[in-house]
């Protein structure tokens, strides 16, 4: 049974116990607040064997090690000590017993929640002796006291009230001094000298403060006071501890919860009219803002006027732009141009002590701390003439591209993590994407959102606010649950994933699953002008478990010695007609998105996996391209026709390969595959000769536990077989042939695909690295020359080196894009990577919308159907292709992100399995980038990239791309061993792959 009591209090005490203050609401209304407090005499001092107090934590005689206080001492730090020297206090070497005043604790809480959270965990730590003294409540009950007693002791003890004209800060300082004095008095009173025994040693309570003025006042009142530096110098581990001291001036910070108005942190934008005029006149430049994923204080805007993108350094110059916004930049004079930074600057660690609620004070002192830190980061940018880039600042925003972002709540920004709390809190949401700034949002349900993925939209970003403000949209689910991660991926890359609507499904054939090719007759519309290829020996070769088979092949010798080869593509345009709901939905989806464990279809699955899928032993409609080739793979002629086929087999690459290599198999099907293979090899050789690039991109596959659970167990690199190349060659051939045909027929509106040659400047850095590190050169004058010089980049000791160079070269290139033949000059049609003068996509109409368009155009070109009016309109085609291009890019990124997530899961699974053998996941990796404080590494086996960060700056040689750690020098292309762990960020719950070096040096302690 608990004791319920009423705290009685005489009215006369009201002066001490009531506190009146005014506060201003967000709307600018002034509210008077009256609070009371109950003073009590049972607040314990926390020191052992005290006569008055129970509950003890601190040793009776304090610490006697320190030379200045041989009688033993306790330290009583003020607020600034915790605000600026938290690292010192956290150090295990810093062991004196600490008295932490409530005043101090509350001030820390007001100033910075993250620091407060660190402090409260310290008070609970076992190796620290910290006692929280609630000085604001300590008082001697004066109710029935004789006036004599009042003289002996100040009735209020440590609870003080703010005096007239005193700032809150001065009041707190006075409170801290008073508490120190009280403690010393308290110790004396409770250890009275006993007659006949030596006078007891009374330990001192020392006020620790950085504020010289405060120290001065304390000494005047006879209170022992000491500065942090002086105190630490006297300690026995002083050398190590002095390193931990933050370099703050002794009297620099005067914390005031500023009364001053909000200060603008960013320049205002120029008016729209000025921006447009400026862009027109060429004084200002317009472009998309790209944030830098390694350094949150840097961004760039590619503009047509300069070869290199315009660099933006620092917050003010980036002026509230968010990744993807269309912005207008002003470029500085050339002498102010800078090179991009060579350091990894992580938003989370730099700003971890920043406070969500202090919007009003950001411009002030607190802001300064951050600003000082940030400006240091910016300044370190070395001035290398070599890398200088146009540099500028953002003066206006043409269009915001804000959308809903997937975020996590930053748990340290919470004021209370109590789930029953109903109070509104201002918290930070950290977006999953590293390109975005933290978003400040107000919510009443913050505690329950911790550990969830949530969707947040940005509402506005004022000049006075360091962070954008947003609001909570909805929760996606628990972090690391597959559903939440999947949905967040789709949202993050704007993949439309809602189920198909009724209007769309109504466009499907009525028979549904039962639909079949009708029996051959002249009257049936399906058979009109279609060739009957049902007897041909056609087969399909695809990856395992492929459901949407959109291509099939055949080859047979002709009597004249030539070979007939055919590529048969699912006839999607037979089902998807222009200007139907299904067509417009497919156009807006643009492509099927493949995630590791899920496929987001472009077309309803009835079409994709059944009616259009060229499954074996079923009659299916197809669009065929038939070549007659010489045995040397010279094309004699090509024709295109709509057809009906019945595939004879569906192979996986592996099965086809085995069949081809099995000498006992002599059936027609196997012969066909061999013919195809022979032709493909010749085609490939020709293509290579023409200068096609053999580029590499890391691809991995997952070993799934079982088909139901889809828990990844392990990752392995995808294997490439001869048959992969077989299919690829014929698809390329078909695409090129079709491209020629439709461009010839529709020179204005043909749907083509091109890959522009990369500007030479893109390769400069790679060339430089190769030259300096390996003495190799890269000839980038043409794709052929590049291909040839890439072949020469071989390190005999390191077979993977060539692949690595290829991956890096790929990253220097532009991405391929769809375009409308009438919109660009004919000389820019070429496909750089394939070394083909013209190219399109024709072979995967089930999963790519551009192919559907190509089908329609080809069908019109051979006079099968008239061309729909929309495909005659250049603007329409351009508009559709813009969407398709964007969706295509997003789909690739979503796929990659999904792979990354699964690699994470797989690593975790592997780590758990191997934990029994007490081994961690270590893999070989190559250094691909060096930073001042870290390394970018690429783990080829897992196909992932990671960062190895060092806590301190290392000796960094930007010219030679090396970094020296201790006595070991690491350079780009060096092979290292890394330990890979999946670490969950404590604040954001963002699981991320963390790498650290194992070999040649162990970076765990660095």
């Amino acid at each position: 049974m608990v004791e319920i009591t009423i705290l009685k209090r005489p009215r006369t005490e009201a002066v001490v116990t009531q506190r009146k203050f005014f506060k201003k609401t967000a709307r600018g209304k002034v509210i008077k607040v009256l609070r009371e407090r109950y003073l009590r005499d049972d607040v314990s001092c926390g020191i052992e064997s005290c006569r008055e107090c129970d509950q003890t934590v601190l040793p009776v005689s304090g610490e006697k090690q320190h030379p200045s206080f041989l009688n033993g001492h306790f330290i009583l730090p003020d607020t600034n000590v915790f605000l600026s020297q938290m690292d010192l206090v956290e150090s295990p070497l810093f062991t004196p017993p600490i008295i932490l005043l409530q005043t101090v604790l509350e001030e820390v809480r007001h100033r910075s929640l993250p620091l407060y959270n660190r402090l409260t965990t310290l008070t609970k730590a076992d190796d620290k002796k910290i006692w929280v003294f609630y000085n604001e409540y300590r008082s001697y009950v004066t109710l029935f006291l004789a006036p004599l007693f009042m003289l002996l002791r100040d009735s209020r003890e440590t609870a003080i009230i703010r005096e007239e004209g005193e700032t809150p800060n001065d009041r707190n300082d006075r409170g801290i001094r008073k508490a120190t004095a009280w403690y010393n008095e308290h110790l004396k009173l409770n250890r009275p000298p006993v007659r006949g025994q030596p006078a007891p040693q009374i330990p001192t309570v020392v006020l620790m403060t950085e504020d010289a003025d405060n120290r001065h006042k304390a000494e005047k009142a006879g209170i022992p006071a000491v500065s942090v530096r002086k105190y630490v110098q006297g300690m026995k581990d002083s050398t190590q501890l002095l390193d931990l001291l933050a370099a703050e001036g002794s009297n620099e910070i005067e914390p005031t919860k500023a009364v001053a108005g909000r200060q603008a942190l960013y320049p205002e934008y120029l008016p729209t009219a000025t921006l447009l005029a400026g862009v027109k006149a060429g004084e200002l430049h317009q472009g998309h803002f790209n944030a830098n994923q390694y350094n949150y204080l840097e961004g760039s805007v590619p503009v047509p006027a300069f070869a290199k993108p315009v660099l933006l350094i620092g917050r003010e110059n980036m002026n509230r732009a968010v990744n993807g916004d269309i912005v207008v930049v002003e470029v500085f004079d050339e002498k102010e141009w800078k090179a991009p930074g060579d350091e990894v600057v992580d938003q989370d660690s730099t700003l971890k002590n920043d406070d969500a609620e202090d919007s009003a004070d950001e411009g002030d002192i607190e802001g300064n701390e951050v600003l000082v830190k940030e400006s240091k980061l910016i300044e370190t940018t070395e001035k290398r003439v070599f890398d200088k880039q146009p540099t500028g600042r953002i003066v206006g925003i043409i269009k915001r591209n804000w959308r809903a972002y997937v975020c996590h709540i930053d748990s340290t920004s919470l004021t209370s993590s109590n789930t029953t709390s109903l109070s509104q809190q201002t918290v930070f949401a950290t977006p999953v994407s590293r390109l975005l700034p933290r978003i400040r949002l107000r919510t009443r349900q913050a505690p329950s959102l911790i550990g969830q993925k949530i969707l947040v939209t940005i509402d506005r970003w004022d000049v006075t606010s360091r962070y954008p403000e947003g609001h909570f949209v909805r929760a996606l689910g628990k972090v690391e649950s597959k559903e939440a991660e999947q949905e967040s991926l789709l949202l993050e890359f704007e993949v439309p994933y809602r189920p198909f609507g009724k209007a769309i499904l109504d466009c499907l054939p009525e028979q549904g699953e039962q639909w079949v090719v009708p029996p051959k007759s002249d009257t049936s519309p399906e058979w009109k002008n279609r060739e009957d290829f049902r007897d041909m020996i056609i087969c399909s070769i695809d990856p395992p478990n492929c459901q949407d088979i959109d291509d099939a092949l055949h080859a047979r010798p002709l009597p004249n010695g030539n070979i007939e080869a055919g590529v048969h593509i699912a006839d999607v345009s037979h089902f998807v007609h222009a200007d139907t709901p299904m067509d417009s939905e497919a156009a807006s989806r643009g492509t099927t998105v493949y995630l590791v464990d899920k496929r987001i279809d472009m077309l309803p699955s009835l079409l994709g996996t059944n009616l259009c899928s060229l499954r074996p032993f079923v009659e299916r409609l197809a669009f065929s391209a038939i070549w007659e080739m010489t045995p040397d793979a010279e094309i004699v002629n090509v024709r295109f026709t709509k057809s009906v086929i019945a595939s004879k087999a569906a192979f996986t690459y592996e099965e086809a390969q085995i069949r081809k290599d099995d000498p006992h198999r002599q059936d027609e099907l196997t012969q066909g595959i061999r013919l195809l293979n022979a032709l493909a090899q010749k085609l490939k050789a020709k293509r290579m000769e023409a200068g096609a690039l053999n580029l590499a991109s890391p691809e991995v596959k997952f070993q799934l536990d079982s088909s139901e659970s889809s828990d990844p167990i392990d990752v392995e690199q995808k294997e490439l077989r001869e048959t992969n190349s077989l299919v690829e060659e014929f698809m390329l051939l078909a695409n090129i042939s079709v491209a020629r045909k439709i461009e010839e027929t529709f020179p204005q509106t043909a749907v083509l695909r091109r890959h522009l040659p990369p500007p030479r400047t893109n390769f400069e850095k790679l060339q430089d690295i190769l030259m300096k590190r390996k003495g190799m050169s890269l000839d980038v004058s043409s794709s052929g020359a590049l291909a040839a010089s890439l072949d020469l980049c071989i390190d005999p000791n390191e077979p993977a080196f060539n692949t690595l160079v290829r991956i890096m070269a790929t990253r220097c290139m532009l991405s391929a894009e769809y375009f409308c033949s009438g919109s660009v000059g004919k000389d820019t049609f070429g496909h750089y990577g394939l070394a083909s003068s013209i190219y399109t996509h024709f072979t995967s109409p089930i999963r790519r919308y551009a192919d559907v368009l190509a089908h329609r155009q080809l069908s019109a070109a051979i006079g099968y159907t008239p061309l729909h009016a929309s495909l005659h309109s250049k603007p329409h085609v351009e508009r559709v292709l813009d969407v398709v291009n964007r969706r295509h890019r997003m789909a690739q990124m979503a796929g990659r992100a999904s792979v990354e997530f699964y690699v994470g899961l797989a690593l975790k699974a592997r780590g758990e399995r191997e934990k029994k053998n007490s081994a961690e996941v270590t893999e070989d990796a190559f250094v691909i980038r060096t930073f001042r404080n870290g390394l970018g590494v690429f783990v080829s086996k897992l196909g992932i990239e990671g960062l190895v960060m060092f806590k301190k700056d290392m000796q960094f040689d930007a010219e030679n791309y090396t970094i020296t750690v201790g006595s070991t020098t690491l350079a780009v292309f060096d092979k290292v061993k890394v330990r890979i762990e999946v670490e969950k960020d404590r604040n954001t719950q963002r699981g991320r792959v963390k790498m650290s070096l194992v070999h040649p040096i162990d970076s765990a302690g660095l």
Binding site: I6, L7, K8, V33, Y38, V132, T420
Partner: protein, 262 residues
């Protein structure tokens, strides 16, 4: 910065220096206020309420008369300066009407209304200062004022509110705490320990409810002692003053007036 205040800190102190089960300072002033038949000013910490009771008297409106018992009419007015922001609340404010209805239904089982058929008892509650626990102050004030007016009741009604911070229950919440933690107000009749009011405007987990409920009931009993002694004190005072006016009698008849009140 309201959210920056810790409701219950590591040392077990609440934001105003109380511990979990400590009630705020309570003051009861039962002296005569104006023409009221009985009145009371009750102060729970910084919440102050003046209750004036008139009646039983003839009902003003015929429609409000009940043929076999007295009608209880509760009216609440909140002075604009009672809270930090001066907000004028009209008498027809839905929230105030709800409050009044809650008070009325709380007292119906306690007042022996059947003794006064066809009459009306008016309870005017004036909120002078608010800092949480408004309903409990209104109810406790009404109990005292009704007794002060000499209206026969079967028992005291003592109200206390309680809340739960995380898993730890708190009693007698201030405004700051009320805004942050789920809370419940309970009015108890101490003699029979019957509950005449339980009200919640927030959601409270059912597992926690029982504990808070039990604690608030206990706290009601503690308050009862306090209220009883205030009533006794006031009666003593009155008797003494009667004695002063009537010098012929001695001072030993003190207890006569109190027997009905126990």
């Amino acid at each position: 910065m309201a959210s920056r205040v810790e409701i219950l800190n590591e040392g077990g102190f609440r934001s105003d220096g109380r511990r979990q089960f400590e009630l705020r300072s309570i003051e009861m002033d039962l002296s005569q206020q104006g023409h009221a038949d009985g009145s009371a000013v009750i102060t729970h910490g910084l919440t102050q309420v003046l209750v004036s009771v008139f009646g039983p008297r003839e009902a003003k409106l015929r429609s409000q008369t009940i043929h076999d018992r007295a009608n209880i009419n509760v009216e609440i007015s909140i002075v604009p300066f009672s809270t930090g922001d001066r907000r004028k609340r009209s008498r027809g404010d839905k929230r105030i009407l709800e409050f009044a209805a809650a008070i009325k239904s709380t007292f119906e089982p306690a007042i022996q209304t059947s003794l006064y058929p066809r009459s009306q008892i008016d309870v005017f509650v004036q909120v002078i200062q608010q800092d949480g626990g408004l309903l409990q102050a209104c109810i406790n004030g009404t109990t005292l004022a009704l007794m002060n007016a000499g209206i026969p009741m079967v028992d005291f009604i003592c109200a206390v509110n309680g809340g739960v911070h995380s898993t730890r229950p708190l009693l007698d919440l201030t405004l700051l705490e009320e805004n942050d933690v789920p809370n419940v107000t309970i009015a108890v009749m101490p003699k029979t320990q019957k509950i005449s009011l339980v009200t919640m405007e927030t959601r409270l987990h059912v597992d926690r409810f029982e504990e808070v409920f039990r604690l608030a009931t206990e706290a009601g009993l503690v308050l009862h002692e306090e209220m009883k002694s205030a009533i006794l004190g006031r009666s003593k005072e009155l008797i003494n003053s009667i004695d002063l006016g009537n010098n012929t009698r001695g001072g030993d008849g003190d207890d006569d007036g109190m027997t009905g009140l126990n």
